[in-house]
Amino acid sequence: MKKIAIVLSVIAATFGVANSSSAADDVIRFGVAAEPYAPFSVKDSSGKWQGWEIDLMDAVCKEMKAKCEVVDVAWDGIIPALLAKKFDVIWSSMSITDERKKIIDFTDKYYYSPNVLVGAKTDTRSFDVAKPETFKGITVAAQSSSLQATYMQQKFNGISDLKLYPTLDDEIADIQAGRVDLMAAAGIQIQDFLNKPEGQAYEIKVTLPHESMFGYGDGGGLRKEDTALKDKLNAALKAVRASGEYDVITKRYFKIDIYGE
């Protein structure tokens, strides 16, 4: 049994070493959800990751003088993947919430986005979260494992029909196909879609009120034991904001300040 274990571990080690680029401590791996989340993180047609969050990551890494690497992950299961050490920092527009803080730690927030429900301009119904009857019988799309999904489930379970999607653009595909009446999304992020020609037919119907479950803005997710990394990232984030680099990056993609207070 011991011999087999040794053989297996040699194989594993060769696998690990041959493919690993993370043996060294100074490479920090940033987990980004492998879906287009314009304008924060999108893979363009040349295969490179682009976007506000990517630029911020580069700026932060420059401050920390560390080598950074992007690891593609599925959004669904991104927290367990972090805990399983597939990468070191979740850097994918994840909201800092108390629920999540029970399991992982966060850097300081790097932007804040209210949550919204988007619908077709031709849909003249009025929706009011204070009046659940306005949601009766409609279908809402939300990304699985997202806060908006939790919100819809908790508040409107049994009133409206909730459809869960693995990625945001699956939601967009279906609202364009008319399969859902409303789409839950992050307000700042969805502007990118609304500004595009195909998004012209849609508008924000409801801005969800700020609930405590929505948390305090979006930040980088870390394992609880990585306190040193957290301090380095926070220091770098502060530096990036102080030096004005944050605003430079933001101006590239947005017309407004997304930091919030």
């Binding site: 274990a5 594993a12 492998a34 047609s45 690891v71 593609d72 992950v73 967009i172 595909a173």
Partner: protein, 236 residues
């Protein structure tokens, strides 16, 4: 014809990313296939062994793979692979702290599923080699181990080829599942392209075509080997 532009190579088109994704699919399929064969060999031997423990473990393994959806097994293994391997290694007394990178974790997950299917194929092939061969080999004085490697395996290979070919086609298609754990192989690349450009039918159909091509080429290759093998083992 915006389509053609989208499908072109180079910076504007997604074809190079699709092909890179396809190549990654092939790489991960290959690793999973080999891992699966190794596990399958162990499994087949265990199933045919005299030890009740070995038989039950192997039987449990194949039953689980057979009844539980592959994606579920892949999720479970993907999240626990690092811990499990660390545990295995700690059994040898080494205390190495290491981390599996995404490719290896995905390959192992897929390989474990493949092993379940491979066990049955290999077992069938081993059993198909005439019992007389084992008896004759033992009578001539070969040890069990020598019998296995020098007599059974060479004869089992041509018999197993159709099954092995089938296993390869299965793993090629199963590799699409690792897109659901975020591994950027062909399906996920296509999905991202479709999402970024909103041309869903185009890219998903393109992915389908690439799979068809890969399956087709693989079938031809295996057919070639089957023909060669049947020549080599023609009864005199």
């Amino acid at each position: 014809m915006a389509w053609l532009n989208l499908l072109s190579f180079g910076d504007q088109g997604w074809s190079d990313e699709l092909l890179q994704g396809a190549w990654l699919s092939i790489e991960i399929s290959l690793c999973a296939y080999l891992t699966g064969l190794v596990l399958g060999l162990f499994g087949a031997i265990a199933k045919l062994s005299k030890s009740v423990v070995a038989r039950s473990v192997a039987s449990g393994y194949t039953t689980v793979i057979r009844s539980v959806p592959d994606i579920l097994v892949i999720f479970l293994i993907y999240y626990s692979a690092t811990d499990a391997l660390s545990y295995l290694i700690s059994m040898t007394g080494l205390s190495v702290q290491f981390q599996l990178n995404g490719f290896v974790a995905a390959a192992i997950s897929l390989g474990v599923v493949q092993g379940g299917y491979s066990t049955e194929v290999l077992r069938g092939a081993i059993v198909a080699v005439a019992r007389g061969q084992t008896e004759a080999a033992l009578a001539v004085g070969l040890t069990r181990k020598q019998t296995f490697f020098l007599v059974i395996i060479p004869q089992m290979l041509p018999l197993a080829l159709p099954g092995l070919g089938n296993l390869w086609l299965i793993v090629l298609k199963e590799s699409s599942l690792v897109s659901l754990i975020g591994f950027t192989e062909l399906v996920l690349v296509g999905k991202m392209a479709a999402g970024a450009t909103r041309h869903y039918l185009l890219f998903y159909a393109a992915i389908g075509v690439v799979f068809l091509v890969m399956s087709g080429v693989s079938s031809l290759v295996f057919h070639y080997f089957e023909v060669k093998a049947s020549h080599a083992w023609r009864r005199k």
